[in-house]
Structure formats: C-alpha cells, structure tokens
Subunit: 122 residues, 2 copies
C-alpha cells in the first residue's frame, strides 16, 4: 500500500496554537513534528534525545548558555542531548522538529504553562 | 557549546552528483541526508528502516507496486520498512532524506551502478 503524501503547509493550516508541537510522521523511535513558535520559550534540556529544528518560515533564535544561533527558512540546527537551550522567535515562526517519541517539549524544566502532551498527531 | 547552523541550500551547492545521498546531521541512529535525484532509480526496499523523503525543490514521483505518489516542494512521504518503491524525477529534484544510519541507497536490490557509500558526510 502506498503511504500518504504529507503537505507541510496544509498541516500547518490545521492548528494555530503556539508552542504545541504536532506529530505528523514517525520513523523508528523518532517523530517529525510541526510547531508554531512566537515569543520566548523556557530554558530546558532533553537528556534522552537530540532535537532537530528545521525552520520552514520565519526566524528562530536558539539561545545556548555560551552563545545564540539564528536560523532562517531552510536552516537546520541539531541540539545535542543534554544541552541546555531556549528557543526565541520575535515573530511567529514555523518549524519542523525531529525528536524521539515521548519527548516533552519543556524537557527537564519544571512543568509549566508551556508544557504539553508530547503525542498529539494531526 | 552551541551547535552549528546547517544551511540546506549551501550544503546542496557542495555537490552535483545525482543519487548520492550526503549526510548532513544525525539524531540517535537516524541520519538526515541531502540528495539530488534525476531520472529513474531502481526498485528496492529497506528491510530495516523507514525512509522519509521531504522534497525541497522539484517534483518527485515515488512508484509503489500498487500506485504512485507525487511530491512537490514542502511535501513529505514516509516509506515504511520493507515496502518496495522506486523514486523517479523527470527533472533534477532536491530532497532531504531521513533514514537509519548505514542504510544503503539501493536497499535490497543487487549492487549496481547507483549503489554508493551510505556514510558520506558533507
């Protein structure tokens, strides 16, 4: 059976909430998620997974404790396991995330208003 | 230490060969690869990995035994493990691939002129 074609723009049209990654695909124990980011997230780390950010639209700053990185559309950054980081987006930015299944968006930070279910499929 | 920003267009500028996926990042045992596809590939399957195709530029047809799928830029298809498929691109098409480390591009097909080293980093 032929698998479906997943159109990223159409998937992004299906939600408007920010900082709520939505799963669109899974490969092994890694998931691809779409997210809309705006404003400043919390400092956190993921002890059990790398986190890949591919910017689809907008501008994403990822703060690390020593310096910041800025990603434009078509740019990718892989945050290694256990490395503290804080995403920041001045205007709404759309990203494709790649993380291990079950990864909570706020990582090891105490549960807060930004923490949400890690396994919401769209 | 802040990880690097990987610009997909600049990475694509670094090679011109077709059907030779280049690794640009790794998360767990999965790798992200860039490839330039043109013409018709061989029928094959990957018994040990899903294969994700995200089209960055161009038009990719993936033939399955029962039907074909056509992917435009911004569209993604996950070929399940063990499912026979054949990528076809009428004009050169650029894709971001997601496969398990060590995956040979021609899968279970007999080694042929299109088969190449699975671990070429750029």
């Amino acid at each position: 059976m032929a698998p479906p074609v997943i159109n990223l723009a159409r998937k992004l049209d299906q939600f408007s909430e920010q900082w709520t990654p939505k799963v669109i695909a899974q490969l092994g124990d890694y998931q691809l998620k779409l997210a809309k980011l705006a404003g400043e997230f919390v400092w956190h780390r993921h002890p059990d997974t790398e986190e890949g950010f591919l910017v689809l639209d907008g501008l994403l700053q990822i703060d690390f404790r020593d310096q910041s990185r800025t990603l434009r559309a078509g740019e990718l950054c892989i945050v290694p396991r256990g490395v503290e980081h804080k995403p920041v987006a001045t205007a709404e930015t759309h990203v494709l995330l790649l993380v291990r299944e079950g990864t909570v968006n706020t990582g090891d930070a105490p549960e807060n208003l930004l923490t949400n279910d890690s396994d919401q499929w769209i």
